[in-house]
Amino acid sequence: MEIDPLIFRLSIFILSIFVGYYVVWSVTPSLHTPLMSVTNAISSVIIVGAIIAGLSGNSDNVFNTSSIFGFLAIALAAINIFGGFLVTQRMLAMYKKKKKNKK
């Protein structure tokens, strides 16, 4: 009997939870705010679903109810992707070490 592909996806999911668990515990507490903003950005990879939804209309009729929801989701996810990565970068750029020349 063949294994349902769902089982493979479930395996990836469960193992990723464990990976996430160990990776996040190793994040230094001083970077917890950038952690939240970057997780925000990466969870917006949901944009791939939004793109499929947006392109679901046929060429005569680009906008149908289903694709409109797709386009809206694209915009929302894009706000998050750009906003999330850029604000993370802005924050990380501020973390500086003690200057050596200052005693």
């Binding site: 990723s16 668990y21 917890h32 997780t39 969870s43 990879v45």
Partner: protein, 465 residues
Amino acid sequence: MISANFSAIFYLVSGVLFILALRGLSSPETSRQGNFFGIVGMIIAVVVTFLSIGNFSSGFIYVLIFILIGGSIGAFIAYRIPMTAMPELVAGFHSLVGLAAVFVAISAFLNPEAFNLGNPGNIKLGSLIEMSIGAAVGAITFSGSVIAFLKLQGIMSGSPITFKGQHPLNAIILISIIFLIYFLCSTQSSNLFWILLAVSFLIGFLLIIPIGGADMPVVISMLNSYSGWAAAGIGFTLENTALIITGALVGSSGAILSYIMCKGMNRSFFNVILGGWGATDETSKNISKEQRPVKSGNADDAAFLMKNASSVIIVPGYGMAVAQAQHALREMVDTLKKNDIKVSYAIHPVAGRMPGHMNVLLAEANVPYDEVFELEEINNDFANADVAFVIGANDVTNPVAKTDPKSPIYGMPVLDVEKCKSVLFVKRSLSPGYAGIDNDLFYKENTLMLFADAKKMTEDITKNL
């Protein structure tokens, strides 16, 4: 058009890059590289999606337009947002992830052919279950985050909103969501799908309104986790590895942060979720109403104490951020350092309004991160330090948490500020903090209260140094 296997491999690559993005945050040196990995992962995922659809019809232009619109809004916000407003921003972003998940689910429900999930009214059972879970969690994330955003922004009062029968009502709604998903899957009725969404929006709203302003760090972390689970649910529907991996990562990340925040306040997760702390606690308000003697001083006294110290520990709290005193504080510290005084910063896990918030604010004021220490790292040093300078923090320094089992904050890990030779406490009045209880530290022998605005006081001290 590229094959499904080929694109699946690239989705896996982008999932791995996202893992590396989080891994990079284990130290500030590697963090920027990590963020870069995250961006590359995102670009790969988007490009592969385009290639796998392979149909560059007129719709494609609109996709780019919407990405551009969203992207410029996002970039604009990212550059303009003040660091003090990070909690609001993150809450706002969570709501967008939630809503995007809902929209994708709606789209997939209305047009399952586009996603290879069957036909309308006859969607594959597994996909329908995944889709409805993703939609429900997304809707909860959305409305919950909107409430969190409004509370943080001060548009909505931070005090808990509770009413009779709240918990039974929430329980009934949560159970009804499970039944709705069950009936939706057995009947494929679109009406049930809309009802499910409406009820999920409602419960997200109801779950967050009873949680008080002081608990917002937990709420934000929790919603972070929800947004991950919503993404994972959609990932299962779309059979997309990148989305499944990311959802799991974000889900566990948010859960761990919630745990750390709860531990920082010594409260159980359920205690926070059920809400209504502080404002409703009558007993704590009536304790210690009697007037006790307090020593208060001015900037001159404070400067004198610090000038004669050899080590100073700064304890910043959210009040510092409100007063915008972080830059003034760093100038004061610079002056102290010129006088060969050792200065370090002590940060409590729940200082600020979201995990790690205080660290960002200090970093913004050019405080080097290797002078900033977490509670466990620095707590033993208070006994050897000459001066503790508490600015904008309150409950996290209250020794009552160690001594009085009746206190609502008993057992909460606190900074051992009172062990310092002298304590300078900058505060506008003797009013209690978030927890609504009096701080014993105010009345200690070695405490000098500095009643003033945090920024002004810090500037005055610098002048007197």
